[in-house]
Amino acid sequence: MADHDYSVKVGGEAGQGINTIASILSRSFADQGLHLFAYQDYYSRVRGGHNFYQVRTATYPVYTFSDNLEVLVALDKASLDLHAGELNPGGVIIYDKALEVETPGDNALPLPMAALGKKHGGKEVMGNSVAAGAAWQVMDGDQTILEQTLGRLFQKKGSAVAEANLKAARAGADYARDNFTGSCKCRLQKTSDKKSLVLTGNEALALGSLAAGCRFISSYPMTPASGVMQYMARQTRRLPLAYEQAEDEIAAINMSIGAANAGARAMVATSGGGFSLMVEGLSLAGMNETPLVIVLGQRPGPATGMATRTEQGDLLFALHAGSGEFPRAIFAPRTAEEAFWTAADAFNIAERYQVPVFVMSDQHLADAYYTVEPFKLNKVVIDRGQVITDNELSQMETYNRYKITESGISPRAFMGQGEKCVMVPGNEHNESGYSTEDPVVRTRMQDKRMRKHKAMAKEVKAPDSYGANNPDTILLTWGSSYGACREAVDRANRQGEKWQVVSFPQLWPFPAKEAMALTGKAERVISVEMNSTGQLGRLLRLETGRQPDLAVLKYDGRPMNATYVLNQIENGGVFPWQ
């Protein structure tokens, strides 16, 4: 069976249904056993504009998007104008016949989407299923799989709706078979009967948090993090989970601090602007040692920036945010699968060390769909760290919430757990939690807190290397940019290069020793990041003294892929650390 790697782009105005078409195709690709990477490009508006969904499907795992397309499904004229040029030779255009445009070449199918939708599905909006059916037919997909997908996707809207969509899709497929006079090179393989999950980075983060037993989330809506809170809000009736949309991000983080101190696993989800408001609360969590998970979905800044676009510009902000000095952990999952496990483990780190823990994503990871094998849920471990039992508590004369220990970790009792009071302050304090300005106690307390940083550093998730052994060039990266780097390295190594990606699932405490071991011998270290100042490169220099030799940066709000990385390196890259 030959490997294949196809991309389909569905373009149109907001509200035209490109998501529906892309979802049908994505789910169907996955059900043929294929791997998937599907990302959306959308404007911050509810109607109009030009949006697209690009779905890549291959017989092997893919973590980034391709340059070119095999199929373009165009719901508006802009899709033809902007994307026809992205087609590979022999690529096919399926476009809405109602657009009344000049035929864009021989390999094109004008499809009466709305008319067929109305005729066979009863409504013009069924044109979306018509388009999906036609695209599936042109790509030579297995018809029964498409029909199963439609049944599943629309079943929750009732069997009549599912049936109507099925008829519409069949009509699209029939129309394509009878009227498409060109040819398409796509021959979709059926590679496996194993079912995969299809989910976004945001959905994986939410699912991982639920798996970890998160009991409370408070947030304020902000793209691209809203998906996390909305997903969790939907589960509150089935799970012992409380959710509140706060009046602002200041309230959101303070609510979570309250919940965490009352005994719950608690989290917030936000983007850079919202996190700016949370900084004060973050500092409180640092002082009163509250375990808290902060999902920080990055988008371009400063300020409102570009709401629906992607960037990795908040790494050093998350690292340095908050008045005073206190320990924290920063994780940055690179794929949806990793997002699930990172979120699940973030609560353990937060509770074991009683610190705020960041899980940083970016819009590209947050909104992209990936195929993932079902998570082995019994592998999720819940470790609440050093917790005092009811029996131990009852035998204590008083409970000292901030007992000074060698590890810096003070065993926790929860408020209302027994008959001892728990005193939690925002001021500097003594072991019992009573405020103090005593210089000796202050120093001991600050040392105690910072010892937790040392303890965390001992079990940091090491950076991961992928590619050639004994590489001469290393691409240093984090977050979703990993996908582009991985593919760039594969392509370079196929040309005889010796390249490697070194990527960081955890950025703080910084794994300095491991980073040095991996990058020390390479002739060339190239930092690849979605920002304009090379923040990971800067962090590497700060923590190891090693400065990357150059950088590949992108900060136009659009994601990078392998070709971009290779071209930038070919052109000499940039050096942002003067």
Binding site: L207, Q235, E247, A264
Partner: protein, 288 residues
């Protein structure tokens, strides 16, 4: 077993100035809680920053002494996940009406199950005498050297406008009334708001103990019916030679508290010291 007020004593230095209204308020609160049979470990005090916020350092109870103005969100989160605690929020006029103004509005809307005490001395004490949102017009303070250009905010009409479920005002110089109001407020499910007028002998030389004492009167004794919201507004507008205190408004019918609204009527804590993994198989399989 009866609870003694002294169980709430913390063997620590009290840092308030002599003659501060906070002494009377704290003493009354201890007596009220003990009188209701509540032990310190059953109570959570969420305290803000300011002299009033120091109640979170001067009383024995579970305490969350948090950031300036942020006590209500913290109380919201804590009370939502843990229903074994009687939650009180305590702060001053700067904390609640300036820094925390937005949170006050939404806490009232949510009807969180919290008794919120605002120690209102119409001045900033902890930071030494600056004007607060309730400071009198024309008062000279370090930040209003030419005299305060603004009218003081009326917290009672604000809260009545939000139709908060329990709206009251008391005075640190009337411990009997304060205790009676606190008792009602603490026992009432939902958001109970009490603005407590108090003197600040160090920094407020205008609104002194004597000044309040000569002006306050009890509206309920004067016949005000707390179920009458319109009448409550009329009474609450009075300020000057006479200052109305007492219960301005109380929901005639009980309304759902926030916890029930969020948790769908399941009145069990969503948290305990031991948590088990949630079974999310079904949710995960929606992605298959």
């Amino acid at each position: 077993m009866a609870v003694e007020p002294k169980e709430y004593n913390l063997d620590r230095e009290i840092t308030w100035c002599p003659g501060c209204g906070n002494f009377a308020i704290m003493d009354t609160l201890k007596r009220t809680l003990a009188g209701l049979g509540l032990s310190p470990h059953q109570v959570l005090i969420v305290a803000g920053i300011g002299q009033a916020g120091k109640m979170g350092q001067h009383m024995k109870a579970n305490t969350l002494h948090v950031l300036h103005g942020r006590l209500l969100p913290v109380a919201t989160g804590a009370g939502l996940v843990n229903n074994r605690l009687k939650v009180l929020a305590i702060g001053g006029d700067g904390d609640g009406y300036a820094e925390g103004g937005n949170h006050l509005i939404h806490a009232a809307r949510r009807n969180i199950d919290v008794t919120y005490m605002v120690h209102n001395n119409m001045i900033y004490g902890l930071t030494k005498g600056q004007a607060s949102p309730t400071s009198t017009k024309s008062i000279k303070t370090p930040t209003t050297p030419q005299g305060n250009p603004l009218e003081g905010l009326n917290p009672i009409t604000l809260l009545l406008g939000l139709k908060a479920s329990f709206v009251a005002r008391s005075f640190a110089g009337d411990k009997e009334q304060l205790r009676a109001i606190l008792e009602k407020a603490i026992q009432k499910p939902g958001f109970a708001f009490i603005d407590i007028l108090q003197q600040c002998p160090s920094f407020n030389k205008v609104n002194t103990f004597k000044w309040f004492k000569e002006r306050v009167y009890d509206i309920n004794e004067a016949g005000h019916d707390p179920s009458d919201l319109k009448e409550a507004f009329r009474v609450a507008l009075e300020w000057g030679d006479r200052i109305p205190t007492g219960i301005f408004y109380e929901d005639p019918e009980p309304r759902p508290v926030f916890r029930e609204a969020v948790l769908g009527g399941e009145d069990k804590p969503v948290t305990t010291s031991e948590i088990n993994p949630l079974d999310i198989t079904e949710i995960m399989e929606e992605h298959l």
